[in-house]
């Protein structure tokens, strides 16, 4: 897999591949501050649960540096560095980040890893603290790719030769540090030499399928056909689809899956037509603190995502809109959860409990 780098950390600046303008432009947005990062997450310059987790971790490094910068100027000479003040600042920055996208749990998870890391550094000098936290953010980045590749290895076992796989949204390199969950599985199967054909739902309103998944697969040479979201049922019913694979933004303790709006419909269509429905996600996506999907907050986004396209109106002025960004797929519709620790068939509360302690 060459040439797809959604998140680049150069030691001082976080560069995010602007996913709003792909595939027309490959342009990076540079983040120098916590606020820059917040804006990028909110406006979906970067999107995809794992990618947001990694981005948030680096966002906290930028926040920590901002604080250390203030401190250096005003207090360093007095030796007045206060670790508790620093920690309070870090936590507030973390909360700030968590508010940007309420559904994807990897965001919280990325933030928590950096904050947890800081707990043991109360004796360290400011520069060592920064160095250690930066190390942790980089580790999160590297681990994400490694974890994705493991998910890919496991998942590829479920993909037969000559399979046609349907996917929704973009759970690819662009949604992660750089390999992909659902598309990681497809990638791994393809690298094993299997002939694969992909149906990519265009995924309204943000068009992650037509803009990102189609671009990513085309770049990789994996055959892909773009379809509108409403055509998935037609192809599944016709028998054109061997399996469906999607990513996840949050998985509840009972195995219910929050993912991009439209996922639930696919799961129901899969059940009706006896097609396996797989969810590929790192264990960092599992949130054992929510018992079921009913407790997951579904983010409602700006109506203009639906009523306009690049400023062009698509509907009459003043029209009322509902724009939930995610939906919940009940666990009973999930044939298997593909994680870095293996394949969990028919997830439920019991099985989830055994799985989660395996995560880092």
């Amino acid at each position: 897999m060459e040439g797809i780098y959604p998140i680049i950390w150069d030691g001082t600046t976080l560069k995010l591949l602007d996913q709003r303008v792909l595939p027309e432009e490959e342009r990076y947005v540079e983040c120098h501050t916590l606020d820059d990062v917040r804006e990028c997450i909110k406006k979906m310059v970067v999107r995809g649960a794992p990618a947001i987790g990694v981005t948030a971790a680096f966002g906290l490094i930028l926040a920590a540096r901002e604080f250390m910068g203030d401190f250096t100027r005003f207090e360093e000479k007095q030796g007045a560095f206060s670790f508790s003040k620093f920690q309070a600042k870090l936590k507030s920055a973390g909360n700030n980040l968590k508010e940007t996208r309420p559904t994807a749990v990897n965001l919280s998870w990325g933030v928590e890893r950096i904050i947890n890391k800081s707990q043991n550094l109360n004796e360290a000098s400011p520069s060592l603290i920064i160095r250690e936290l930066e190390q942790e953010a980089k580790a999160i980045f590297e681990e994400d790719i490694a974890v994705n590749k493991k998910i890919g290895e496991w998942g590829a076992k479920l993909i037969g030769d000559n399979y046609t796989v349907l996917t929704h949204c973009n759970a690819g390199a662009l949604a992660t540090a750089g390999y992909g969950t659902a598309l990681g599985v497809i990638r791994s199967a393809f690298y094993q030499g299997k002939k694969i054909m992909v149906y990519a739902d265009e995924t309204r309103p943000f068009l992650q399928g037509s803009r990102l998944t189609a671009w990513e697969l085309q770049k990789e040479g994996i055959p892909v056909s773009l379809i509108v979201d409403g055509a998935a049922g037609y192809h599944i019913h016709k028998g054109d689809v061997n399996c469906i694979i999607v990513g996840a933004d949050r998985i509840a303790a009972n195995g219910d899956v929050a993912n991009k709006i439209g996922t639930y419909s696919l799961a129901v269509l899969a059940k009706e037509n006896n097609v396996p429905f797989y969810v590929a996600a790192p264990l960092s996506t599992v949130d054992m603190s929510v018992n079921s999907g009913k407790e997951i907050v579904v983010e409602e986004r700006d109506p203009e995502e639906i009523t306009k396209l690049r400023g062009l109106p698509l509907s009459p002025p003043g029209i009322n809109v509902k724009n939930p960004a995610f939906d919940i797929t009940p666990a009973y519709l999930v044939t298997a959860l593909i994680t870095e620790c293996g394949i969990l068939y028919f997830p439920n509360e019991e099985k989830m409990k055994q799985l989660v302690p395996k995560r880092r």
Copy 2:
């Protein structure tokens, strides 16, 4: 219902409200020839099965006039009008029209009604033939509105007070001569004083929902919320939807329904969530010559409907696309068929046989 006139026949010209540019512009395209009409049907200036049927009928009047015009200029003085030549011309024009959109059966039905009418006119003068055929086309137009209102009356019985109804595509005034099938039912219930809320699927790729249904309902004062196609499942699963009503482009002898791509998914979602799924259509939509949905030709349309929007690219250049315009909903997923002759619950071959002779 005021102010929505998708098809205007002024005695010499057919004016079609250009549904490609609504709701931004209310502009009519004038058709003077058969070719003008063909282009308008093909390019979806006019769309919706019943509206296409009415348009085709008027298209044949224009074709008949073209022929008579030729005749008048070259042969009238020799008294050389040949009825059989005229009929051959009319039939060829009819076949020409039928090829423009293969799925909607009302197109054939409209054409056949004009051709059948001409059968008894072999003794008539050219001007009388034209007058009689024009009368027939006008009758098709008027009957369509009357039939829609009857469908509305029957269907309104299924709509309770405070109902939230989900609909797909546009089966409204714009899809017919002027009242609507699925939206006709909603309209009738609304006129009875029932409080109704409508979820309108935006209906990619042509956006009939956001551009046409939203506009039509907003104009009428019927509360409507626009959603992306992928969000229908979310709202149905949440319990927000009391019933689903759609139109139809062709109904097979066993009750299978061809309708806008995305309809099948809604029917499956309805079944999974115990929500009634209704199809509102005139009996002219029933095609007893096809035994089941499997025999219905599904039109594949231009990939650019998906890859571009008003010339703006939405996906990478050269991407492969599948763009079926319709899908087939098996009869077992249809709670009831709402026709001008009544409500047919759980349609099947036997019941369809009893229903169809009732049509004109």
